[in-house]
């Protein structure tokens, strides 16, 4: 019981990070119908930029953890927003309206570029940091096993929920959100009605990049170690989460992220750690067999 609760806590934390990345995938997919393969690598770039920001701030003598984190995140989010914007502008916009596989290949190319750019510019090693937010609270103790909820996990949950709340407000209550939803329903019609679709799509990428950077920062703080390759695994997992939840559906992305996180941590806890990815992917395949458009996705209506 206590062990299960601990795995549950770990799983939810992990799921929050996946959910944040998955939102970026699902948003882009909803609007322009492409898999943004480079999104996982934007997450990685965000983590690196946060790390660089933290080290830079420490060099300037700013040692207060909350201030340093906030400043580093703002800087990293601004810079990786430029990444999101540039990627769309350079690699995807020229291919919009082209056939379906062209942007996919371009996105794979962009993902390779980002990975190797970071590898060349920063090196292929792991970068480690000391835990910035130590300590935990003991939730319960049972038979000598203490269930711990670390402050880091609390922070991850709070930050994710806060960002998702802001994001939900943005999508449902602001003119930009309305434009995004209009573009999602019908891009051509939206542009006929005077919505600047190019700008809306660019901003979608920018928002996705900011959320991915937040996920990158949380990942960096939680695991304390990053390298240029983390984007691929996390990206595939987050994309799996988006598909599991029903691609194009925002609550679905978060739900899918939580599901993947829980499957992973429960499988690691009760079965075997090396096969946790197999478990996550198998659940995806099984869910899709019975619900071909994911948990919360709308079924495709086939028109003849």
């Amino acid at each position: 019981m206590a062990y299960a609760l601990q795995q549950l806590i770990n799983g939810v934390t992990l799921g929050m990070i996946y959910g944040l990345i998955a939102v970026g995938y699902t948003m882009v997919y909803g609007i322009i119908g492409m898999i943004n393969f480079a999104h996982g690598d934007v997450f990685m770039v965000g983590a690196f930029l946060t790390l660089i920001g933290l080290v830079l701030l420490a060099g300037f003598g700013i040692t207060s953890v909350p201030i340093a984190l906030a400043l580093a995140f703002i800087a990293a989010a601004a810079l990786s927003a430029i990444y999101g914007w540039t990627i769309e502008r350079v690699a995807y916009r020229p291919l919009r309206g082209s056939f379906r596989l062209a942007p996919l290949i371009s996105a794979i190319g962009m993902s390779i570029v980002l990975q190797n750019f970071v590898q060349v510019s920063q090196g292929a090693r792991d970068y480690n940091i000391e835990p910035l937010i130590p300590g935990s609270i003991t939730v319960m103790t049972q038979g000598g096993f203490a269930v711990e909820l670390s402050w880091m996990q609390v922070l991850i949950t709070v930050v994710t929920l806060a960002l998702l709340a802001v994001f939900t407000w943005l999508v449902t209550r602001t003119p930009l959100g309305r434009a995004m939803r209009a573009c999602e329903q019908d891009l051509k019609m939206a542009s006929l009605l005077g919505i600047d679709t190019d700008r809306t799509i660019s901003l979608t990428f920018v928002i996705g990049a900011v959320l991915a950077t937040a996920a990158g920062m949380l990942f960096l703080l939680y695991y304390g170690s990053i390298n240029f390759y983390i984007g691929f695994t996390a990206g595939v997992k987050a994309f799996t989460a988006a598909v599991l939840g029903g691609i194009g559906s925002l609550p679905g992305a978060v739900l899918g992220g939580l599901a993947i996180g829980l499957i992973e941590s429960l499988w690691s806890g009760y079965a075997s750690v090396p096969y946790k990815n197999v478990a996550a992917f198998s659940v995806l395949a099984i869910v899709l067999i019975f619900m071909p458009s994911g948990l919360l996705g709308r079924a495709d209506i086939e028109k003849v």
Partner: protein, 428 residues
């Protein structure tokens, strides 16, 4: 920032903006370098590198805009070249084939090695063309079948001491079985759902290969995989009567084995090409292409969609399996590292760059991609970076691939070229 021709002032402003964006992009990652020290991380500034990159972006953008103004019609030269290649297809293909057959006569050992590599990818590309190009099923986990073929051969050869030629069909059949097994659960999925499940399948195979240490040797892989023989003649310098050199009374040289391997993969690739060209004319092949165009219409016309999809998966997987067995015997050593997602992405990009469904295009794309990345072997660090950039640039310039036109598989009367824009693709 649009591609429209503009005056020099506008071009300058545009280039300055691009440089500003580049500054934002590269300030963090190029301008600052993380260096681990004894007490944590330290940052080292690289202002010169940053300045050079930003300046390069500025000049590059300026040149691009100027060039666009001088030649406003975009990139007609490449287009014309590609059209010429498309129309000259019937002459280009035999010339290519001749050059490929004669390669051992004029190429050195390095050329042969590169040729073997290119042909392996040509074969994989032709195999994947059946799934993606003909049947329109987007498969991001093709490398899984390549892995199944390679491990089938390696395991059966090292454990049961069977020869390459016996195991080649076995590997192909096993891979085809896996293809059908994957095909079953994904029958109902369309487009991108299919893509992610196939990607997941590729990852599952890789994770199992890494972790099932007792069978596959884990990440250490399998070593001492037997080399292929020519009717029982081995290729080594031991001087035994059953070696190639002794049997034909030739002085032994390593090149003999390379030439042999080269012809084996050439034959396998041509077999793949021939079989898929023949299959396209069968009712089955026509059903694949019909499925790509419109699945609903297929059902309405009484085509068994299940069988059609499964055979496409099975056929594609089988050729992947053959290529895998060849890969294992060529390398003599395999490990899960060789079967990561990058390989799937590489083969898929060869197929898409080749123009999806064009056999000649796939061959051209494989030569360009693999040969091109061999050219940059000396810049090892930057090789993949350049590869990724090339992928993006090629897609942006020619989203329909190098050979953007197709002759119909079957036609009444004269065969006319169909513009690739009219061919629906990858709608699963």
């Amino acid at each position: 920032m649009s591609g429209r021709p503009a005056g020099p002032a506008a071009a300058l402003r545009d280039a300055a903006l691009s440089a500003l964006v580049a500054l934002g992009l590269f300030a963090g990652l190029i301008g600052l370098h993380l260096v681990p020290t004894d007490n944590g991380l330290r940052l080292v500034g690289r202002p010169w590198a940053l300045a050079i990159v930003v300046l390069a972006v500025f000049v590059g953008r300026l040149l691009l805009l100027t060039w666009q103004r001088v030649r406003p019609s975009g990139a007609p030269a490449t287009r014309r070249l590609a059209e010429a290649v498309t129309h000259a297809g019937r002459y280009v293909a035999p010339v290519f084939l001749l050059a490929a057959v004669a390669l051992p006569l004029y190429g050195g050992r390095y050329m042969l090695d590169t040729g073997i590599l290119v042909l392996t990818y040509v074969m994989l590309g032709w195999g994947l063309t059946i799934v993606v190009g003909l049947a329109g099923l987007l498969d991001l986990g093709y490398v899984a079948f390549y892995a199944v073929g390679a491990y089938s051969y390696a395991l059966l050869a090292t454990n049961f001491h069977l020869g390459f030629w016996t195991l080649l069909p076995v590997s192909g059949i096993l891979a085809a079985l896996w293809g059908v097994m994957l095909g079953f659960p994904v029958l109902r999925l369309r487009g991108d759902y299919l893509a992610i499940v196939t990607l997941a399948f590729g990852e599952i195979i890789r994770v199992v290969l890494i972790n099932w240490t007792s069978l596959t040797g884990g990440s250490n892989g399998i070593t001492d995989i037997p080399r292929p023989t020519l009717f029982g003649l081995k290729f080594n310098g031991s001087g035994d009567p059953d070696t190639f050199a002794t049997f034909f009374h030739l002085p032994y040289s390593v090149t003999q084995r390379f030439v042999f391997l080269y012809y084996v993969i050439l034959a396998l690739a041509l077999l793949t090409n021939w079989v898929s060209l023949r299959l396209r004319r069968l009712p089955l092949g026509r059903a694949w292409e019909a499925l790509r165009e419109d699945e609903v219409a297929c059902r309405a016309l009484g085509i068994n969609v299940t069988i059609t999809k499964l055979t496409a998966f099975g056929m594609g997987a089988m050729f992947g399996g053959f290529a895998g067995a060849f890969f294992a015997t060529r390398q003599g050593f395999i490990s899960p590292e060789s079967f990561n997602f990058m390989e799937s992405a590489l083969v898929l990009s060869i197929v898409v760059l080749g123009g999806l469904g064009s056999q000649l295009g796939v061959a051209l794309a494989a030569v360009v991609m693999i040969g091109g990345s061999e050219l940059f072997r000396d810049f090892d660090e930057y090789r993949m970076l350049i590869f990724g950039l090339a992928l993006v640039v090629m897609m942006v310039l020619r989203p329909r691939g190098l050979v953007a036109g197709r002759t119909p598989s079957i036609a009444l009367g004269a065969r006319r070229e169909i513009a690739a824009e009219l061919v629906a693709q990858g709608r699963g």
